[in-house]
Point group: C2
Chain length 295, copies 2
């Protein structure tokens, strides 16, 4: 939804990303204007149940009060979970108290406190980890959870296996029918492809410790505010360059890299791709309105 750094420029917006996993939409960061971007790209905000905020620089959360407000006005009734640095709760509370806002849904606030798993369901997990910025700042990993094996729909119907046993099949168990006949697991299931993960490295200075935290990730988003010639400026402002982001992807053995948080000083972005992909081949630029497959 937004790939620019602090000052919106060249029709690029401050940071916001939507991660889709089956019927779940996760929103990561929510810069000013995110609710308009969601409308523009026809993303149903009612399906967003979890919002992750990396840190409390305005370009990463100034769109959040407005989004929450609109969700209320649109009659949302189901819970909304927000994972963010603790101070955000006070800010939003103050804003809503001042406006006498009463939400028709439950806003569940989860202050980030340590590196940990934030959500753990049978379909996905979400965890947070620290990155290094001028103020407290977090990265997030969303991982799909897959059963080890998939049901082979074409073959399973040839046997009389009750549907409530499918989950066991997916876990690798054989099935024994009423007559004591054993149907071997391999006959009705297929090995699954490995679970995928998306890691979001918010605003951070170059820090190789991050590579450890996102080791083996399928798709790594890493900020690249500057091109390589501005390495000094990047360091002084606790940001990263193209080749630093690429180095982290490489050290982490990530499958692919996505770059974003481009400084407003750049009108065009080709050089970001050029520089980073020279270090890490499978690099793409995070462009607004574009969907990237995690594969």
């Amino acid at each position: 939804m937004g790939n620019n750094s602090a000052i919106p420029a060249y029709e690029r917006h401050p940071t916001a990303q939507v991660v889709t996993l089956n019927d779940q939409l996760f929103l990561i960061d929510c810069g000013e204007g995110t609710q308009m971007q969601l409308s523009r790209y026809r993303i149903r905000r009612s399906r967003i149940n979890h919002i992750f905020i990396s840190h409390l620089h305005g370009d990463h959360y100034f769109g959040l009060p407005g989004l929450i407000n609109s969700m209320g006005l649109l009659g949302r009734e189901h819970d909304l979970h927000v994972y963010a640095p603790a101070a955000l709760q006070k800010i939003i509370q103050l804003q809503f108290d001042t406006a006498s806002t009463e939400l028709p849904f439950h806003l569940v606030f989860h202050p980030l406190q340590k590196e940990e798993v934030l959500i753990d369901t049978d379909k996905f997990s979400a965890e947070c980890f620290l990155v290094k910025h001028r103020i407290e700042c977090w990265g997030f990993i969303i991982r799909e959870k897959r059963k080890p094996r998939r049901i082979d729909r074409e073959r399973v119907f040839g046997y009389n296996i009750p549907a409530n046993y499918y989950e066991k099949l997916q876990m690798g168990f054989d099935y024994t029918d009423k007559n004591g006949e054993v149907i071997k697991n391999e006959m009705v299931t297929i090995a699954n492809i490995p679970s995928r993960g998306y890691a979001y490295c918010a605003d951070t200075i170059y820090d190789t410790a991050i590579a450890e935290k996102v080791k083996g990730i399928t798709l790594l988003y890493h900020e690249a505010t500057y091109t390589k010639e501005l390495e000094q400026r990047a360091a002084s402002r606790f940001h990263s360059t193209t080749i630093q982001a690429a180095a982290i992807a490489s050290l982490a053995n990530a499958k692919a890299l996505l770059l974003g948080h481009f400084s407003s000083k750049y009108e065009t972005l080709d050089i970001f791709l050029e520089e980073a992909s020279a270090v890490f081949k499978d690099t793409q630029l995070a462009l607004e309105g574009v969907t990237y497959l995690v594969k």
Copy 2:
């Protein structure tokens, strides 16, 4: 910059208006996305020195912290004056403290406390007045100040009148030269056209007391959230309808009326113009990106 009510819709944005008076730009209200709208319409934010916030519903100020932040990042050094309900200062302070934001300019906060003149210079004045909404809410009037008479450039050069006497000429004084010869004021000046005023009636229920407060104004902006058939809903939400806005313009004997703050339930706006102009002829819709002359 923004003519929509709370939920952005159909590419319409939450409330924000820029009023231009010679080299002065005034910003009235600052809904989410205002800084992007300023960029889109190439309005130089460095020339905005006074910002007026009517009330603390998010759609009237959620764009302000981001705008102020960007002004800082862009190196602004001159003072910025914000006139708003007192609680806004606490909100912005909390946001900036949390982000360790240090502005390179002086942000001068003026809490609105009573109906009064807020700014009074020799070129313009700005005043605030109460309107009736669910929470504390203010309207604003910006008035141009003109001297009674204008210098007649073609004729004044025929006489030997020192330039530092021009201001007195504009006030209607005659000039007596060294030889005691009197140059009558009418010979070198022309009667000026009357000073103009712009009144902004923020979110309000229909209240005829407002007509008194904006009596004789040149251009009246009045909210019209709903069409006339939703008069009940308008009242219950402390908003106005088309014909109520027009009635205020008529009672106030305003020269012209501008309507805005359209509800998100309306995709097209023709009916607003139709209904209001049946009651008050010189009505226009406040459209984004359009400049309206106060004449």
